[in-house]
Symmetry: C2
Subunit: 387 residues, 2 copies
Amino acid sequence: MLEIKMGVAKAGLKPSGEEDILVLAFKPSSFSAVFTQNSLAAAPVIYDRQVIKQTDKISAIVVNSGNANAATGKRGLENAKKMAQLVAENLGIPQNQVLVFSTGVIGVQLPMDKVEKGINQACKNLQQLDLEKAARAIMTTDSFPKYYSSKHTLNGKEYSIVGIAKGAGMIHPNMATMLAYVFTDLDIDNETLNTLMKDITAKSFNSIDVDGCESTNDSFVIVATGESGIKVSEENIAEVKENIEKAAVELAKMIVKDGEGATKLIQINVHSAKENEEAKKVGEAISLSNLFKTAMFGNDPNWGRILSAVGQLHLDIDFSKVKLYLGDFLLYDGEPKEFDREKASEYLKTHREVVIDLYLNRGEGEWTYYTCDLTYEYIRINAEYTT
Amino acid sequence: MLEIKMGVAKAGLKPSGEEDILVLAFKPSSFSAVFTQNSLAAAPVIYDRQVIKQTDKISAIVVNSGNANAATGKRGLENAKKMAQLVAENLGIPQNQVLVFSTGVIGVQLPMDKVEKGINQACKNLQQLDLEKAARAIMTTDSFPKYYSSKHTLNGKEYSIVGIAKGAGMIHPNMATMLAYVFTDLDIDNETLNTLMKDITAKSFNSIDVDGCESTNDSFVIVATGESGIKVSEENIAEVKENIEKAAVELAKMIVKDGEGATKLIQINVHSAKENEEAKKVGEAISLSNLFKTAMFGNDPNWGRILSAVGQLHLDIDFSKVKLYLGDFLLYDGEPKEFDREKASEYLKTHREVVIDLYLNRGEGEWTYYTCDLTYEYIRINAEYTT
């Protein structure tokens, strides 16, 4: 059984005064972690990258919200290290078994007196993991807590997968950050986890877009405690992967759904591309198009914006073979199709989740990408705050 | 002296009922043309690409606004050809000396009866080139006509450079298109023009961004009539290039200034990059950041969004060596700098054109990129129209 303890505290880092420190404690476990590729990586990301080279087990995670500890130089790095040290001392575990994460304002040093008090308090009040409460403690301007839980059986034994995530909210006064943690009590070694991680991240957190902006703090960790006694082997790995991937995809979709100002989750299924990689690129190109995203907000079945976003990739796509659906409406089939624009607009108006299917008819590649619409509220959130 | 005739007509392609056909006629001239790289290229772009392989002189240009003739298949291509044919017949010139351009709605066939009447009428009413009038005829939702004119002397002889452009307006119901034409009475051969074209386009129309979306119809043509009698040679080419580039950059800046919903023209000077190409990439990355563009709209000197957009390129930039100015305000110098946020915000509030200087301190590369802010009005223009 998955035994994870949590502690939270109000350190006073968030303007709202809500919980802003989360400590998760568990038995020394296998793990895999991926971080932002942004070369302006935040101090905790730099710190964690060093730590994971020195350990093959972790047993605690500490997250502060309200301050990203990014672009903070040497002092920022010392502060990230100090956070790990405080958790290690409080829990009596090796410091290199603690990973550190931050999310919030960029370019401001952490108020370490507050952080220290918060971490001490969180560590003193450890309780059973409450997913919603944990998810709330890492929220910044997220409008709802993001968590996931599922149970499965394998060879007659039960195992669990749980996860929390945050993201897509604007952080005073800087950028959105995505953090996600998935736990399972399966017994999986690090090497296998790292292999799974690559595919799972590609299909989930690397296939979503809100505004094309990559944060300095993005992080995703999978932890396998082994407590279920189920050893993952070649025979069952496909099934296990599917279940963990489901958790990651569902958390990723919640992030897009909570995208800044978003009114719609848009699922873009790209079919019959040359290969999967091409299908992913095409899905991403559509997701990044401001013109497409504003059309979706305006409930406008504006297929020209979808195709031209694909054309912008400069691939040798033959558009006379391309087919495009919005929901059940066939919009384009090698040439403009007659369709009921009013009903297609009504479909957009009445659905919180809409689906686009694009067939390139040049191979077997497939991918699903998730994005949201671009709205007045996005502008308000990101512009109206003036420092 | 530059002798260009023009004719305009109201063919009824634009909802406004304004002039929507422009014909420019001039003596058979050297030229260089570049087109969109979007693989969903519009019919006139496909047609022109064929034509320019068959001729080394052009003597007429025809543009219709209100319909892009894009994603229109074989019939669209026939219609583009028909437009060239009509102009050639009316003016008594070879058909392959006519280039054709369209801008407007995507995916709708041209109403050729209207187009034919319009072209006939425009060709019958040729007059001296009136730059403003010509620029107006190719406008779609541009809020002002874009034209440029300059006179220069070389070895005691006078020569002219004039140009018109359109772009950055939304076109019912699809995307913005950029069209630009620059004329000079210098005597330059096609090969030299093509060489100049590459650099000039890079510094002007390929260094601007409004919303990251590349149109299916973008085109830029330089025409050299030779009427000044000044032969461009190795000795004077640098000077000539500078003057033509100036025309292109000024027209490009007008397009950004008229960017959909824009309240600010933002000039991003990237200094001391590894090479020019890297500086251009960095300028482009900042220009494409929705978070940066909304901050500019909100008059927020939010330097974290600038640096993180640069970090998103995944170059090995050492941010401890980076320096960033907004106007005269030093915001970041290897670490966050203290600056008067209120005054910096005031600078943004009170300037229609703002300047950002970013020093990477890793080489000699430099580039200037132009973009605009992202505003409520952009969303309104692109979303509120519902088909």
